[in-house]
Structures are given as C-alpha cells and as structure tokens.
C-alpha cells in the first residue's frame, strides 16, 4: 500500500455554516417557486374573472404587519446571541436565544390568528388551497426555526459555549426567514 504523509485530522471547516447556507438556498427556492406559481395563478384569475381574493374574504392587515415587524426583532435577537457568544457572555446569549424562540412562537400564533380572522375554508376554491399551502409551508419553516433555536440554546447551555458557529448559522437562518416572510407579506398580504 502506498503511504502518503499523514497529518492530524483537520476539523471540518464551518460545516454547520455551509450546511445551513445550503438549507437556506433550498428554502428560498421552495418559497420562491411557490410565490411564482401564486403570482401566475393570480394573474390568470384576474385576467379571466377579474378578481383573485374571494368575495367576503378580508386579509387582516394588523397581524400580518405585526409579523413583519416581529421579524426585525427576531433578527436583532439572533444577532444579539452571536454578539454575546463572541464575548463569552453566556447569560445574555441564552437570553437572546430565548427571546428569539419566544418571538418566533408569537409569529406562528399570529399566523394562526390570521387563519382565524380570514375564516377561509381550505376547500373554498383555488385561492384558499394556495393560501393555505403557501402560508402553511411558511409555518413549517417557522417551526423548524424554533427547533433550531432550541437545539442551539441547549447546546450552549450544555457547555458548548465555544461553538459559536451554530449561533452564526442560527442567525443566518432567521435572516433568511425574514426575507422569505417579507416576500410572502408583499405578494400575499399586500398585493392580495
């Protein structure tokens, strides 16, 4: 057997960061494609029937706008966790992660409130099916984000405070989610 000179096994280079970045690319493709189909169907509906939003259905603007504002908070809290971790400030890092998870849960709650206020049945036509599919996928991504935050917090509480990469990755995830929601907000809730 030919032997090459050996070296200590190198630590993987930013594996979590790269992995989450790829996941973010996939999330952007997923949401982007769904919104593209949404825009296409909306245009076709307006061209044929002159309307897209079903009669009697109103999009509640307050909770949808509050959700958008909440994402600013999520991004700030996510970055706060990174900032604290770099200064070995464990209490603040954990607090920041807790705040991130809390606001993310509030966003999920606000989405549920939007469903309640709209009173739209999932079987009430094309708009309803697409609305629940697109926003439902967003909720799934939000739940994945809350799980990610919880895992990051437990790792940090568990003593892996030197592992700042997961917090940076965590912040990137929420930045991406903010951009995704901004697109949904504009196309689904503002343009209608």
């Amino acid at each position: 057997m030919h032997v090459l000179p050996a070296a200590p096994a190198p630590a993987p280079q930013r594996q979590m960061l790269v992995g989450v970045s790829l996941a973010v690319v996939a999330m952007v493709m997923l949401t982007g494609s769904m919104l593209a189909v949404w825009a296409l169907q909306r245009r076709e509906a307006i061209d044929t029937t002159g309307t897209w939003l079903p009669d009697g259905v109103t999009v509640p603007e307050v909770p949808t706008n509050v959700m958008l504002i909440a994402f600013i908070g999520i991004c700030v809290f996510g970055q706060w966790a990174v900032w604290s971790a770099k200064r070995n400030d464990r209490p603040h890092a954990v607090l920041a992660l807790g705040c991130t998870a809390l606001v993310a849960l509030l966003v999920i709650n606000a989405q549920a409130f939007v469903y309640y206020r709209m009173g739209l049945g999932v079987a009430d036509g094309t708009y309803a099916a697409m609305f629940y599919a697109a926003t439902g996928m967003f909720v799934v991504l939000m739940i994945a984000g809350v799980v990610f935050t919880t895992v990051a917090a437990f790792r940090y509480i568990g003593g892996r405070s030197g592992d700042q990469e997961i917090l940076v990755s965590h912040a990137i995830y929420w930045y991406a989610m903010s951009a995704i929601y901004a697109a949904i907000w504009f196309l689904v809730y503002v343009t209608k």
């Binding site: 090459l4 790269v18 996939a26 999330m27 997923l30 189909v37 169907q41 999932v122 599919a133």
Partner: protein
Amino acid sequence: MTTIERSPETVEVATGGDRDDAIALEEVAGAFTSTDHKVTGRLYLAGGLLGLVSTVIVNVLIAVERLDGADTVLDVEVLPQLVDAQLVGLVFATLLPFSMAACVFAVPLQLGARSIAFPRLASTGFWMWFGGLVLITIALIGNGGTLGGDGDAVDLFIAALGLMAVGLTASAGAVATTIFTTRAPGMTMRRIPPFSWSALVFSLGLILVMPVLVGTLAYLFVDHRNSRTGFGGNEGIFVWAGWVVTQPVTFLFAIPAIGMLAELAPVVFGRRTPVRGALFGGLALIGVAALAGVTQQNIQNLPWAGSDLNVDDLETKVRDLVPFLLFNALPILGVLLVLAVVLQTARPGEGTRFRFAPAILFAFLGFGMILVGMLGNILHAADDLALQGTVFEEATLIYVVYGAALALMGAVLHWAPKLWGPTLDAGKVTPLALLGVTGTILAAFPMYIAGFLDQPGGVSYLDDDLVLWNIIALVGHVLMAFTVLGFVGLLLISRRSDDSVGDDPWDAQTIEWTTTSPAPRDNFVDVPVVHSAEPLLDIKTAATSNAASNDGSTA
C-alpha cells in the same frame, strides 16, 4: 457511529454459538441505524438496483402491451399506473438513487474525509426516499398516480413524491457540505477528483431543483385533496410536476454518471487529467439543466416558422434560438468538453498505457448512451419535427436512464474493493456491459423511429407498421433485464467471496486507494496530506524515478 457495536462474546451467548447468523442479523440491524456513509451509500445502491429491476420489468410489461397496438394484454384499468410507474421508476427509483449512491459512498473517501458531513441527515435522507418509494408503490397499486381513479391514492402519490424529493435534497445537502468543508489537508477545490466535482454539481443542482418540485407538489396536494379547481385535478399533476421526469432536468441527475468516465480515464491510461479546468467547466455546464428545472421549462420549443432562413425574420429566429440553445445545447457542449478531455487523456504519448478494467467499458458505453439521449432531446424540442407527444420522448429518457445506470454500474465495479473488499469477476461482468448497451439501443432507438412515424405516447397505436419497432424495443428491454439481473447476481456472489483484490487494484491516482480494502469505519487511519490532484501518482512516479536512479548509480 454504528449504534450496535459488535461484541463476539455477547453474540456467542445470545445465539447459542450460531455466530454467523448473529453477525448477519447484526449487520442488518446496523444497516438500519448506521451513520457510516458507506452503509448509507450501499443502501442507496440496493434501493437503486431494486428500483432498476422493478422499472425494467415495468418497461417489459409496457413493451408487451405495445406488441398489439389496438388490443390490450393487461387489464386496461392498470395501464395509467403502469405508465406512471415507468416514469417515476426511471427517474426517482433508478437514476436518482443510483447517482446518490455513488456520491454518498465515494465522495468522502475521495476527499480524504473520515465521514460524510451530517451523516444522520444523509441516512435520514435515504430512509425518506425509501419510505416515499414504498408509499408511491402502494399509491399506484391502489389506483393512484396522475390518472388514478382513487382520490386518496392520488393524494398519497403526490405526498410520496414530495417525501422522496425532500429525502434526496437532504442527502444532497450532506454531500455538498462534505465537498465544501471536509477535504484532506492540501486538497483545494481545484484538486478534488473529477467524480467529486460532478457530485458537487449534481448535489447543488438537486438543492436548487427539488425544493421547486416540493413547492409545486404542496400546491397540488392541497388543491387535489380539497377543491380540485386550480391545478386541473389529476391531469394537472403531470402538467405542473411532470418536468422533473423529462429532459433536460434528467441530464442534471445523470451528471455523476458522466463524471465517472472522467474519473476512470486517467486510471486506465495512467496519465494525469489534462486541462482540468475545461473538464470541470464541462461538468458544470451540464448543470445548466438545473436552470430548466428551476424555471419549470421542460421544453423550449423551436418553432422556426417557415424553414426558409430569410434575413427579414432573422431577429425572430435569433430570439428562438437563444433560449433553445441555452436549455438544450449547453448541456451537450458540457458533455463534449468532458469527452474532449477524456480523449486527450487517452492520446498516445509518453507515459500512456492502457490497463483495461470493466468499469471503464461500462462508464464509456453509458456515457455514449446519455449523449445519444441528449442529442435526441434537441430533435424532440423542435416543433417542426412534431415529435412531442410521441414515444420519442420516452426513448430519450430511456437512453439517459439506462445509460446512466450502466455508467454507475461502472462506479460500483470501480469502488467495490473499498465498499466490501472483493470486486466482480471481470471475465463475467464485461459481457454484461455489451449486453446492456445492446439492450439500451434496442429498447430506445426503435422508439426514436416510431416517434418519427407518429406513434403516440402511452401504450396504444393504430398503424400496423409500428409493430416491428415495438417488438425490437421489447427485445431491448428484455436484454436490459438480463443485464441488471446478471449484474445483481455477480454482485451478490462477489460479496460472499473472500478474495481480496488488494488496496490499490487499479493502479489508481486518488487518495481513497491509500486506505485498506474494504475501507475501515473511519475511512483513513491517518488523514493523508495532498500536494497535487493526483497524490498517489506522485508517490508512484517518485518511487519509479528513485528506482531508476538507483539502478543507474549501481550500474
């Protein structure tokens, strides 16, 4: 880490001395729980081979059905499911798992990594894919599919397809992350082996394409489950999601098969890969097919209204040609670049040798079949030829999938020593390559002709002149069935063999051949340091030079 550790004492007590059975049981249990990338790769391979066998059988059934274009041999009710099984089987049960298998088991070894990145994710990806395969089979049996009559089974079909797509994306993420982050010291991106580069293009392509499919399927599922108003009900499934089982997206899924030829040529001819930049560029160009998937443009037609090329209409013709060439010709340009580099590697010259290995025959013939499929796709996209809706499209897919399967069988032959020690008997497996390529040509080329003769897609036709071409296609599928079954048989025999072929049986150049055969749990005892793209060849060349200089000084 394998969660069930081997403990001979425990095994002895637990089984009353029947140790072999206990170890076999332990291996099966380990396969379910292991996060070793070689185990996950083998599982994908087993799934891909199972899918290939099943799909070839489905193809044989369809070909039998086509022998008489008017009457049906099988129950007419099952024909829509059979056609769906063919399409999904060719792409999701054969091409994708086969390509993923090669990437998962070979890439970490080629990079000098001790493990794949996110091994549990890669393993979970396999089980999601496999779960989707089982569910999609149940859905088709239960009258589901794109033209199924049972609403719940159709919903299950859509959900299962989405599950497979998510699983494949997860495994692709693990492969891509490995290539970006877990390379041996000194192995820059320019030094990674050609197959690993093709795996990167393939994985990134999947990460771009599969979420688009998942999003579309989410709409289709919710709509079909509830209102069936927005996406055309059952028939809308293929309209909205059919692009993933047609060209040119399938070219993206076949990239590892194309990369296999580029990987093997330097080994067989004993030379360094020349112009690696062109080779890498060529493989990446094929990835432009991903763009077609992302934009859901499965066909960029070339209307070419009025074939006479007049100057007045030049702008229109250029406008037609640009997207047409982007979607159809760029992947072929990429394949030709790869072929040019391979031919340059094989060019007679100082230091060139030819050491035959069955793997290169499989890879070369498979590559050729993929190229023929790609060329066929260009014709298919030209409206003037009126090939759309005919069996021509199916023939293109069969060329690509059977060709990729052949090339990836070459990958199995090449890396079998690292996977389980022995390799397949060269004398017995070589004829299978010839049988396989004959089967592919006979299965697909007559359908090219039948497409020009306007035989519609599906199983029925009216023109009796088409019977001959359908008989030949049946023979082709049967030959392919023999090829696959023969390969699986030889594979099983080789796995039971104790004949080790050594650590470097092919006199290769890349670092996976510096570790033992089969590769240990963590791949490498010591992580090798890399100073060139062909580190093992460096050592061999230096050893030869030293031996020559020693001989000279002795004389």
